[in-house]
Amino acid sequence: MTAPPEGEQRTPPRSSPSGGGGPEGRRGPSPPLALVAAEGGTRRLAAVDDAAAALGLYVGQKAADAAALVPDLVAADHDPDGDREALEILCDWCVRFSPAVALDGLDGLFLDVEGVSHLWGGEAMMLDDLLARLARWGAPARGAIADTPGAAWALARYAPDRTIAPPGGQAPLLAPLPVAALRLDEAAQAQLPRLGLFQVGQLLALPRAQLARRFGLSAVMRLDQALGAAREALVFRRPATPWFDRLAFFEPISALSDLERVTGDICALLCARLEAEGRGARRFELVFHRLDGKAMPVAAGLSRPGRDAARVAKLLKPKLDTVDPGFGIEVVTLWAAEVEPLSSAQPGLDADDGASLEEGLAPLVDRLVNRLGEDRVWRADPHQSHVPERSVVRHAPLDPQPEDAWDPDRPRPTRLLRRPEAIEVVAKLPDDPPVRFTWRGQSRRVRLAEGPERIGQEWWRKAFDEVGPGKVRDYYRVEDETGERFWIFRAGLYGDGETIPKWWLHGLFG
């Protein structure tokens, strides 16, 4: 078996416009339901449920005709965005079955179940479990498992429910299906029945060259994809990763101490595998799957790739308070991202002596970042800008050091006020540094002053009006009689006749 077996399951559009997942048609005698979409001024049915289909309604029918045929039809507006969102939620839920889940249009999901079906005791049991759970929530679905996404797509929609193709045995199962099962483009799909080609098997019997000439290369490609002769790339909602582990419990758990214990257990599982492969990860996402289908994720990040189970568990445990176990948690999954090669380091004899500086700092940075948040721990690095408030850029503390540095000839204060504060100034001449200024109600006589250092706005960042001469700042470094040093500036220039320049205090040297 070369191609991975693909599970595919299909769900109809949401049954109720509110998205609440109300009871579907199969549960009791509820009125037939259809979703209606406006299409160029005509309202047409966009989806029908089983009851409506049994009464002869079909997708694409005019809403008025349908209402005439079935007077008690319940119609609701078609909401593709809402459908998509609901499908994404379902997609995230399916992660409990396999880490690789892809959305397919508005009504389907692909699950890559290679290597995970044994956890359920086989592909058939897995498919039954998945569909039974969906049915319990009133989301009727069909499913099939096959070697290729194309075959699974076809079997789920046109073959008997829960068909499982044996490895390499797609062709006989596909042969009796209608050609629509091949996901052909509209033109080809309309043309084929006119030529008397109704079933996939008929296409399989035709010479390939003729097929390609008449119906385009895409038809041949679709056929090959279904049979496994051509590859098909799926866009998984999460990147497919082998760094995934899962723990299921016989009895649902809910006590915080239990959650902490399983956190430690699952971290140990995944980290042992990472260690065996010589890798480390920077992000870990722990998801608690509740009995009612909700997933409660908890994430932790590391500043450097790591695989120390105790350390990862320690970062995750404080966040378990936010997990609401509801009626209980039955499955826990752990997913490692940003996995990088990480050679195991030999602990040096002088490990305590600061030889492994970063090794020691990384746990501290991780603790702080996970506790306070990423934006609260940083290293200030130089940025190429003369504007003081933009000359500093914040980086993660253990990022590689930048090469540039601040200009040592431009003295800068140790405290920079986030917003400059207005000061009142007495100056002898318009362009001179002030003789006296008042800041926060305290008048200070300037003993020494240095400057000006003229800093203009960065004209390439703003509109022209905002960077004119009125926005130029002249900075002075002044010292008052007690020796306190201030960084003050005058915004604008005297003599342009329009505005009177104002003085501001921007920083303190200390």
Binding site: G354, G360, R367, S391, E481
Partner: protein
């Protein structure tokens, strides 16, 4: 007992001879001037402990002079590891520290949400491998927090500085002055930093190197002192400060410079002398 003394000193000499090869001197951070280092019991600022640095007047809110002084004092330590600076108000400007030749690449800044978080992050940082020093800006740790900081410092020999600051101004908290008197008990030293008028080189119209009026108000096992210190130029050697003048005595120095007023120095001065 005059007879016991020679015996005792002989015993001490023997112990000293035994320990001479093995004993490592207690780690200190010397200032490079005997007039300052003499105040400390081991000839320099003790490294495995925490120190309290405060300002006066408006500095209690802005904390600019204490920050510049602390950064300069810890500069030699930054060569040994990272320096963590924990604050509530993120107005520390790294280019300014770089202007004091402080290696900002080694500086990790942390913005905490409240006072308790400042202290717990500071404690966490001090107990971590690879952190040479940590600075926390807080108002008034109580005795228990002070003890915890001391224990964290002792674990790895890191140096802590508690920068006394009320970052958003306003009146002192309900614990106010009572809390600050207590906090001093756990600190190794207590400093008060204020700016001092600088002396530009002759013929230079600008500002001279920055100067601080530095008061060592309390020093465990040592004695207080007061000096005017100036940021040392590169030619002056590896130490970050240059002693400009020694203020005669703690109290006399205060009287001699009435222009620098300290709001609540009189009870503190008494306590410092008692200690």
């Amino acid at each position: 007992m005059p007879g016991a003394k020679p015996a005792l000193s002989a015993l001490r000499a023997r112990i000293a001879a035994l320990e001479a090869g093995t004993r490592t001197p207690p780690p200190v951070l010397p200032f490079g001037d005997p007039r300052i280092d003499g105040c400390f019991p081991a000839g320099g600022l003790p490294r495995g402990g925490w120190h309290e640095v405060g300002g006066a007047g408006l500095e209690e809110e802005t904390g600019a002079a204490p920050a510049a002084f602390s950064a300069l004092m810890l500069r030699p330590l930054a060569a040994r590891g990272a320096v963590v600076w924990v604050m509530r108000r993120a107005d520390l400007h790294a280019p300014g520290l770089a202007g004091l030749s402080f290696p900002t690449g080694r500086l990790i800044q942390v913005r905490a949400r409240d006072e308790a978080e400042v202290l717990s992050v500071l404690e966490d940082a001090l107990a971590t491998v690879g952190v040479a020093a940590a600075i926390g800006e807080a108002q008034s740790p109580d005795l228990k927090a002070g003890r915890r900081l001391q224990l964290a410092c002792e674990r790895r020999g890191a140096t802590g500085i508690l920068l006394r600051r009320r970052p958003y101004g306003g009146p002192a908290g309900p614990r106010g002055d009572q809390g600050r008197e207590v906090s001093g008990a756990a600190a190794q030293t207590r400093w008060r930093i204020a700016a001092a008028p600088s002396q530009p080189p002759p013929g230079d119209p600008g500002l001279g190197p920055p100067r601080w009026r530095v008061e060592l108000q309390r020093c465990r096992g040592g004695r207080p002192g007061a000096w005017i210190l100036e940021q040392a130029e590169a030619a002056d050697g590896p130490h970050p400060f240059r002693l400009v003048s020694q203020l005669a005595d703690h109290d006399v120095g205060e009287a001699a410079a009435p222009s620098v007023t300290f709001g609540d120095s009189s009870p503190r001065g008494g306590a410092a002398n008692a200690a």
